[in-house]
């Protein structure tokens, strides 16, 4: 915690200094003011030379409140640990009952007497759809962020930034519904067109039907993570010191050169963190993909044929008819998803922590 000075630490030292430099002898008020400082040392009577000060009570309000906050803080660690423990505890029996290899089997039928299920296709679909979504969303999101922070008139930029923040709050089920009912038509037309003229490329091949494909899922996902990445990176771009930008302009840089030499390098850790957070969102997205993907099992790079599945979408779809082993199997797949997102998030946080200025809460 050494990077940012604690306000409370300032307050503590400030309090002590005031007491020491006081003209009259330590009065009643100064004594009480000293009390909170003393409680910080674990011994309980860390009063230094102030013998006249009261001993800190064992069961005082201060102790109780401190204990309460400590318990609340510990609860976070307990919850994270409990998530891992309970998921593992429920997943292990199902994994034991599995008659096929959990990592390589292509299919999901855990409800039969001979349970067979494998995570391979689901993990592949999760990673493929998220990667495609980010591939499409990141350049556009960065473009919008640059537009809002450096191209648009200030008022328009603020207003549109507010709108982008609002769009980040729209629930995913709405995007899923829109993708399934409306967006599928242009995507299907586009898929047919791609298949007609670029069918010789394997990812655009196949004989149809087209529509509820990885491409639709990835596009909907891209539109969903767009506001998140945009609002975070806009925040970072706005934090670029004006002196850096003006220095670049004063040296004769064009506006693009100014962005490239001053704004983008300054914002790079923030951009990476925003992208990683968007990736975390995309990996865990459930309902939008459950509505837009044509659920199939099988590893295929074909983007436009009906098909595709992800871990989260499979949980939402298969949960209804799952028996006990089926639930265990779904929990096991959730555990894999939890691990993947944990790795992504810890990496993102490590990058953010390297640069303390980026403190915007990433909700």
């Amino acid at each position: 915690m050494g990077e940012t000075p604690h306000r409370s630490a300032d307050a503590g030292t400030g309090g002590t200094r005031v007491t020491q430099s006081h003209e009259w002898p330590a009065g009643a008020s100064a004594r009480v003011a000293e009390a909170p400082v003393s409680t910080r040392s674990p011994g309980g009577n860390g009063l230094g030379g102030g013998g006249a000060l009261p001993r800190s009570r064992k069961f005082g309000a201060e102790r109780a409140f401190r204990g309460l906050t400590l318990a609340a803080g510990t609860a976070v660690l307990v919850i994270i640990a409990a998530i891992a423990i309970f998921l593992i505890a429920k997943a292990v029996p199902a994994l034991r009952a599995n008659t096929e290899n959990f990592w390589s089997y292509e299919g999901w039928s855990p409800n039969e007497t001979q349970p067979k299920f494998g995570i391979g296709t689901l993990a592949f679909g999760t990673v493929l759809s998220s990667a495609l979504a980010l591939l499409m969303a990141v350049p556009v999101a960065l473009g919008i962020a640059l537009y809002l922070s450096h191209y648009a008139p200030r008022r328009l930029g603020t207003a549109l930034g507010f709108l982008v923040d609002l769009l980040a709050a729209v629930p995913s089920v709405v995007f899923g519904l829109w993708g399934r009912d409306i967006f599928i038509n242009p995507v299907r037309d586009f898929s047919v067109w791609l298949n007609e003229y670029f069918g010789w490329i394997p990812i655009f091949g196949g004989d149809g039907p087209f529509g509820k494909s990885i491409m639709l899922g990835a596009l909907v996902l891209a539109i969903m993570v767009l506001p998140i990445i945009t609002s975070l990176s806009r925040e970072v771009f706005l934090q670029t010191p004006t002196a850096n930008e003006e220095a670049a302009l004063a040296l004769g840089a064009t506006r693009w050169e100014m962005l490239r030499t001053a704004v983008l390098p300054y914002g790079r850790p923030g951009i990476i963190a925003a992208v990683m957070l968007g990736l975390g969102r995309a990996l865990g997205e459930t309902i939008a993909l459950a509505l837009t993907l044509g659920i199939t099992f099988g590893i295929s790079f074909n983007l436009i044929q009906n098909g595709g599945n992800t871990i989260a979408a499979n949980i939402a779809n298969a949960f209804g008819e799952a028996n006990e082993t089926g639930r265990g199997a779904l929990i096991a797949s959730g555990l894999v998803l939890f691990t993947i997102t944990l790795i992504v998030n810890i990496t993102a946080r490590a990058i953010i922590y390297r640069r303390r200025e980026f403190t915007e809460s990433a909700a």
Binding site: G14, V76, L77, I80, L87, F175, F338, A363
Partner: protein, 362 residues
Amino acid sequence: MTTTATSHRTRPPAQPASLRARRLPWYAAPAIAVAALALSAVIVYGTDIGGPVLVVVLGAILYLAGLFAAANAVEGRRSARNRTWSALIHSAFVLAVLPLVSVVWTLVSKGAERFDANFFQTSMNNIGARDANGGAYHAIVGTLEQVGIATLITVPLGVLCAIYIVEYGRGKFAFAIRFFVDVMTGIPSIVSGLFVLAFWVLVVSPWFNDGRPSFSGFAAALALSVLMLPTIVRSTEEMLRLVPAPLREGAYALGVPKWKTILRVVVPTALPGIVTGVMLAIARAAGETAPVLLVAGGGAAINTNPFENNQSSLSLFVYQQAGDASKYAPARAWTAALTLVALVLILTIAAKLLARRNRLSR
């Protein structure tokens, strides 16, 4: 397009004055745009490979190429790059606005279809596939109860946790808590649903329910609080850090103990910011579908008791109606989606306005 944007800017212009350097005339960009569109229309309709959308897309690509070539010839390479990139950035904006506007438009136009009193006064109980009526009363009740309980659980826990991090926590332990709160923001909602399923529904709830696992609205509230907790802790923490140190010092100097200082001085000062964070967390939780699907089960009837039996929620209602084969289901789904978005946006806008009035704003 780019030239007008340049003239409106408040910063000093990046290009040298036209006295010294040759510049493209103002009509160059629109002229290139028209030429590019015409050329692409000729190509597309001449070879019959697509429709008007392809004309626009191909036109945009030709426009970028033409603009680069023209600027490169007249103004030089650096200026040409500048023009091309700013055209790209503007088009990124237009590209993203289109689907988002489509989402909003569809939501309003389709959602208005069933946006009537009946929708908000009836449930889906005894509504068959051929019944045009049916509403979301039960789902609204479920959403309000689940989010309310989740808020009651999370707000005290989150605020106390933030107080620990900011006021009391020292060293590695506090750092670990901070770090894991950050990591927790990224937990997928479905994982939190699975956690509550494994913990509450399958292990704890049989104790209260004759040994059989039971779905309940309370379980959904637990799952939502796992999702809300990190958001609330982070925003509260930021707000507490913004409280000026002299306020605390003044309280200590007056002889107020630390816990009372925190409760009477620090937290009230940061209160508007904390409320903002809480409202944003509520808005996010209200829109979550997956955890409710896994642990509350959903149901067609009105169930006001969150501790027993299945409960629905607005977002789950949308999902279920979206999967329903009835021809009246899509209208119900869209109206419920509109209701949900209205609820979430009202909360978000109120939170943002509150944050703007906040004296401690960043």
